[in-house]
Subunit: 438 residues, 2 copies
Amino acid sequence: MAYLARFYDPQDEQLPSLLARNKTDSEALTEQVRSILAAVQEEGDEALFRFAKQFDKASLSELRVSEKEILDAEGRVPDDLKQALAVAYHNIKAFHARQRPGGEQLVVAPGVELSRKIVPIQRVGLYIPGGTAPLFSTTLMLAVPAQVALCPSVVLCTPPDSDGNVHPAILYAASMCGVKEIYKIGGAQAIAAMAYGTPSIEAVDKIFGPGNQYVTEAKIQVSGSCCAIDMPAGPSEVMVLASPASNPSYVASDLLSQAEHGRDSQAMLVVCAEQTQGFAFLDRVEQAMEDQLATLGRQEYLLSSLAGSRAFVHPDLKRCAALANAYAAEHLIINMNDEKTENRVLQWIVNAGSIFLGPYSCESAGDYASGTNHTLPTNGWARSYSGVSTDSFLKKITVQKLSREGLEGLAPTLLVMAQQEKLTAHRNAVAIRLGGER
Amino acid sequence: MAYLARFYDPQDEQLPSLLARNKTDSEALTEQVRSILAAVQEEGDEALFRFAKQFDKASLSELRVSEKEILDAEGRVPDDLKQALAVAYHNIKAFHARQRPGGEQLVVAPGVELSRKIVPIQRVGLYIPGGTAPLFSTTLMLAVPAQVALCPSVVLCTPPDSDGNVHPAILYAASMCGVKEIYKIGGAQAIAAMAYGTPSIEAVDKIFGPGNQYVTEAKIQVSGSCCAIDMPAGPSEVMVLASPASNPSYVASDLLSQAEHGRDSQAMLVVCAEQTQGFAFLDRVEQAMEDQLATLGRQEYLLSSLAGSRAFVHPDLKRCAALANAYAAEHLIINMNDEKTENRVLQWIVNAGSIFLGPYSCESAGDYASGTNHTLPTNGWARSYSGVSTDSFLKKITVQKLSREGLEGLAPTLLVMAQQEKLTAHRNAVAIRLGGER
């Protein structure tokens, strides 16, 4: 069966449409989110209780998860999952600890000392979506770097189920990272609560985490006025770079594992080959997809996502890398079944959220437990954004200390520049220090 | 004369209003900017020529600055300014080169190799405001880190004067940094041109630079849809932490040098002292301000800004630092005339864009030539944002490479987590690689 629309040697002018993401109309969404944000800003907690009833079908008596609920969660997480979370936690923590920057120091001229002071963002908000699966993996991906960065105040919001409960695995994963301030709030209203604050929730400085289109739109709206965000995230996506020598079952499984994320996920394939060979390989991939599909759940998501998927074939390796750069995938799997070729392609990649190299680096590894972060730029944002990392939870404050000698040395430069920019008070601040006036 | 409204021992509940920035009403602004963005998106270059005529009073025949104009600029920059720019360039480059991150590598488990690949953002846009002074300093502050980061494509936009020219010092500073693609476009329309692209200008991946409220609003609007920005910047501001032992002339000169930036700049002062002593010191500062004001230009800006300035007095050093953290100043000058005290305060500061330590570290030094970047978070964004640095022009792409052994080691963890998150295709992507199917 043909799951992937095929394109041989796509031309530059076709790329914008061939590499386009599934778009959702946003006019109505913008207004709907604006009204949710306004309600939380005006009514505070009352709006949060109302939205929990309306959107989550939950009648809450408290927004905050109690200490008892957090303690009880431990007993409700199966042992094999606890063990798995411990491995994932260890790997994520190790890699994110490696990312901690040192503060540079430089004496740029006699008496002119420059440095950067590394400081954690003081209060961060983590959003963990609800939906079909309990995202304890996302909990680790956000709470571990916050812990590594030593953020003193971390709050987590996630929607309750209709009984007013949060999945114990999310509470347990949060506890592993020392997060104790957890609220049963989901959707755009959670973003509003964290951005503006309410009587129950103190506002945060930066909001992290994925979410549906309401959450994303809410993050974008607050980011322009009062609260920083990690990135404007959208539906998840993968691009696989393969060759006819790649194992078609592996390629098929990677496309499918992306496609199951949601109805609007996107799975793209680039095969480095001449047309005949390339299309024959696509036949094998599609056969493998058909075989595997029969064994999988979430068929509705899989089929919906695959409808927007595409396969490209081109004989030139550099052009294949260029296609990957033009798409700027959240996840880029380079599986050419030849290490040297894979490394050559890696050198050329400049736009990607995270790269998975070789036949055994499936996206699932990075999604869960290898240690890289799975909160990554989608929708082409990999052209300008990095994924979430320890950096995302830190600030770098520049510090300068000039001695009198240092200022004297710089003064001729400063006086000329201030003069030419016609800023006489800037000039005066230098002159008065060196003139000895009091 | 009383330039600074005085507050002794301000209480927590007063801080939101006492530390508030000068707000501008933004409803009309939002719509006006939206229509400018839409015009550029729909009409392309034609809209840019029209806006140049309308806003800059310039009849342009070409949007792009010619090679000849760039070459001619060199002859029109005075030698003393060339020398000053050379010193500034050297210092800024040295400090920003020091900021280049290495890409970490970590073998987190046998056969599980993780790393980060550092890549420059491929095409960046720098905005240099026009207005009353030629901002060659801002040109260096944006173009030097782009050069240090090795961004392959750098474009600069700045409004022309009414003769259709760009100030030669801006062209010369851009040339120093290897920037050759320069356009005579200002305001919100410049942001639109860089974000969307037009027939003359290829779209960029990220936009940097300060600007008036139209530019800032335009940056915020495009940042939600298609183009990253450095930060949502607003009017410039300073907070000075002083003690009665500080030199009141220095303090006065720093407040004034901030106040001359624009009509809506803000200059705040915190004095660590008992009320009587503190107010006596404020008298001396205000006397010095009066003396200095008489010698300065830009009186209109100075007086307008000072109307929104405030002075706080508190005897407790820790409380003074807390006020600085609550304000989260773009520029924080710690000038207590006692090195030990200054260092203690420095340790407590967690929210600031850039810190100036000691009596000789005037803001002018960092504005121009010490080497730190002067593009900094304003309006309280220092709670979550760092200033522009080499990092701002780089991306960090995570890379993972698993061997078969590596995947086997991780598999139990991955299978349990995928199972519990009910993602069967994620599970399958692991299982199929280890089952040996083809």
